[in-house]
């Protein structure tokens, strides 16, 4: 065969293969969404949102406590991870041209790559062993560690995108550096920072592994932060590996709600990015 023909054929073949790879990847995506939607919607009802889990066979069981638990866990994690992440990011962006900041950046990247189950083990040794009880606090600690690297690095990047001229103008008017950072730099970068925070929340909302032996799960309503607490991903896991059809249906319903929450947060963050890109253009 003619070498030119052969090259043409190889060219066509490889380009087609690349296209097929992209299409092929959509198959599991569509399958997962299809099942979660179809099985989730048919199993969801009002009871699911407001009731506690019930023993097998009793109708009307739900995951109300797990939904509330997940919201509490997210809130608690944000409470400590957002200040550490945002202000750590401020340090990296505003004072970060030294070895110390390079170390922090490196550590944050390393922390980002550590399996979440290892972070769960760490939270267990730090909280659960001394307190001798699984607790909401230990779960929120583990989730917070997962959030911090994302928030910190996004905050840094967003602050670096704030034009120098804005800072210089503010400083030239005689305000202190502290005021300049808080009222000018952070304020300008706010949409971007919010996006980072929302992405971090979307990531932890579905985390299960670090909660297995920290938050642990609970079949009752939330009692106190020192007690085990229910979480939606934990409940889905427990029901999915159970042998009961009824619980499997509820697991699908839980997956539907969880995916809905995660995607809602991701979409809001995309919407905020959209605003951000419009913002400088309109000025």
């Amino acid at each position: 065969m003619n070498i030119y023909k052969k090259r043409q054929i190889v060219n066509k073949l490889m380009c087609a293969l690349a296209f097929l790879c992209a299409i092929f990847t959509l198959v599991p995506l569509i399958s997962i969404f299809g099942y979660v939607l179809s099985k989730g919607i048919t199993s969801i009802n009002l009871d699911f949102f407001i009731n506690l889990p019930k023993p097998v066979g009793e109708p009307g069981g739900g995951m109300g406590n797990a939904i509330v638990g997940t919201i509490i866990l997210i809130g608690l994690s944000c409470l400590w991870a957002i200040p550490v992440g945002v202000f750590g990011g401020v340090y990296l962006a505003e004072f970060g041209n030294n070895k110390l900041a390079a170390t922090v950046r490196f550590t944050a990247d390393v922390l980002n790559g550590i399996p979440s189950i290892v972070i769960g083990v760490f939270a267990y040794t730090l909280f659960v062993l001394p307190m001798k009880s699984f607790s909401a606090v230990s779960g929120a600690f583990a989730l917070g560690i997962i959030m911090i690297p994302t928030i910190m690095r996004t905050t840094e990047e967003m602050l670096r995108m704030v034009p120098r001229t804005l800072r210089e103008a503010a400083l030239a008017l005689g305000i202190s550096q502290f005021r300049m950072i808080v009222s000018i730099a952070l304020k300008t970068a706010l949409p971007g920072i919010l996006t980072g925070i929302l992405l971090a929340i979307a990531r932890i909302a579905g985390e299960t592994a670090p909660l297995l032996f920290t938050a642990f799960g609970n079949s009752f309503w939330h009692q106190s932060l020192g007690q085990p607490i229910a979480a939606l991903p934990l409940q889905i896991f427990a029901y999915a590996i159970s042998p009961f059809d009824d619980w499997h249906r509820q697991a699908w319903a839980g997956a539907f709600v969880l995916i809905f929450i995660v995607f809602l947060i991701s979409f809001i963050s995309r919407f905020i990015i959209g605003l951000r890109y419009k913002f400088p253009a309109s000025r």
Binding site: R7, V10, N11, C15, A18, F19, L20, C21, A22, F24, T25, P28, L29, S31, I32, Y35, P83, F87, G88, G89, V90, Y91, L92, E94, F95, L100, V104, T107, V110, L111, N112, G113, I114, P115, S116, I117, V118, V121, F122, T125, L126, I148, P149, E157, S176, Q177, R179, I181, G206, E207, T208, A209, F213, P233, I236, F237, A240, A255, I259, V262
Partner: protein, 308 residues
């Protein structure tokens, strides 16, 4: 003077918060090493090469889990790397402009699905499908290989590898796409000017130039696969045995921690599980550092922060 006070304290305060990340990481290593110490002292390096895992007799060897983790991740890479490169090539080089953003958005959606949902789908959709259709097919035509022998359970190494590959495709494809996008245009133009076809341009001009970055992307994906817990735990069958067959149930380091941690009665049992966690930590640490160094090498300082 009040303003001045804030100004001075502010830098120190934010520096402290930034440093707390370093402190937390050091504390993580210290804490886990402390709790793993009994197992480290008792078993030494044998811990990594013993196949017995017997909580009753308090003999702990992590080899079945290490094996399970390595094979499941290798299987995942075997599937995910070619597919991801295909996606990245299509998105960066071939696709018409209007299709690029929507398609890459869809593929990144895969990364947003929580791992427990993957597990649920794995148990009820993927595993039955593999048991009824794929495994009999493989056994019939490739059954002479030890890889494809044994009973069809549905759950097992093959299922875990496939689900892991789906989960790491977004990571590998998006990082390699970013790497392709920073390959200078002169590379492509030079190849085209010599009369290369599209594919030859990609192979010679782009893939070759970006190979270190691609390797970095692959290692990042591998890091994710090694540490992935829930989805694997739900479909791998959780049996601490080393078997040549991909159909057989297996166990990984992350899933043994997930399954047995809350039931770990003895101190030595707990310590052994924490030691597995520590091993996992160091392996992913080394992989992440290597991946970042490789990506950095291709894309220079600014793009060294290409994200997963």
């Amino acid at each position: 003077m009040k303003i001045k006070f804030f100004d001075l304290g502010f830098k120190e305060a934010v520096a402290l918060l930034a440093l707390s990340v370093v402190a937390l990481t050091l504390l993580l290593v210290y804490n886990m090493a402390t709790y793993a110490m009994p197992a480290i002292q008792k078993f030494g390096l044998h811990f990594l090469s013993t196949t017995t895992w017997d909580p009753v007799k308090e003999i702990f060897g992590a080899l079945p889990f290490i094996y399970g983790t390595i094979i499941s991740s290798a299987l995942a890479l075997l599937i995910a790397v070619p597919v991801s490169l295909g996606i990245a090539i299509y998105l960066a080089e071939l696709a018409p402009a209007w299709i690029r953003e929507p398609l890459s958005f869809l593929i990144e959606l895969l990364a947003a699905i929580p791992s427990v949902v993957y597990g649920l789908w794995g148990i009820f959709v993927l595993a039955p499908f593999l048991r009824q259709d794929v495994q009999p097919f493989l056994a019939k035509y490739f059954g002479f290989l030890p890889l494809f022998q044994g009973n069809f359970y549905g759950v097992g190494m093959l299922t875990a590898g496939i689900i892991l590959s789906i989960m790491i495709i977004p990571t590998i494809s998006s990082v390699s796409r970013e790497v392709f996008l920073v390959v200078p245009f002169s590379q492509r133009e030079a190849a085209l000017a010599l009369g290369a076809t599209r594919w030859e341009t990609i192979r010679l001009g782009v893939l070759k130039y970006a190979r270190a970055g691609i390797l970095g992307a692959v290692i990042l994906g591998m890091g994710r696969a090694l540490g992935e817990t829930m989805a694997v735990t739900m479909v791998i069958g959780n049996r601490p045995e080393i078997s040549a067959s991909l159909f057989a149930p297996s166990y990984t380091m992350a899933s043994v921690i997930a399954n047995e941690f809350t039931e770990a009665t003895g101190d030595l049992f707990l310590s052994a599980l924490i030691e597995i966690g520590l091993v996992l930590f160091f392996v992913t640490l080394v992989l992440n550092i290597a991946a970042r160094a490789l990506i950095w090498q291709v894309s220079g300082k600014m793009k060294g922060e290409i994200r997963e």
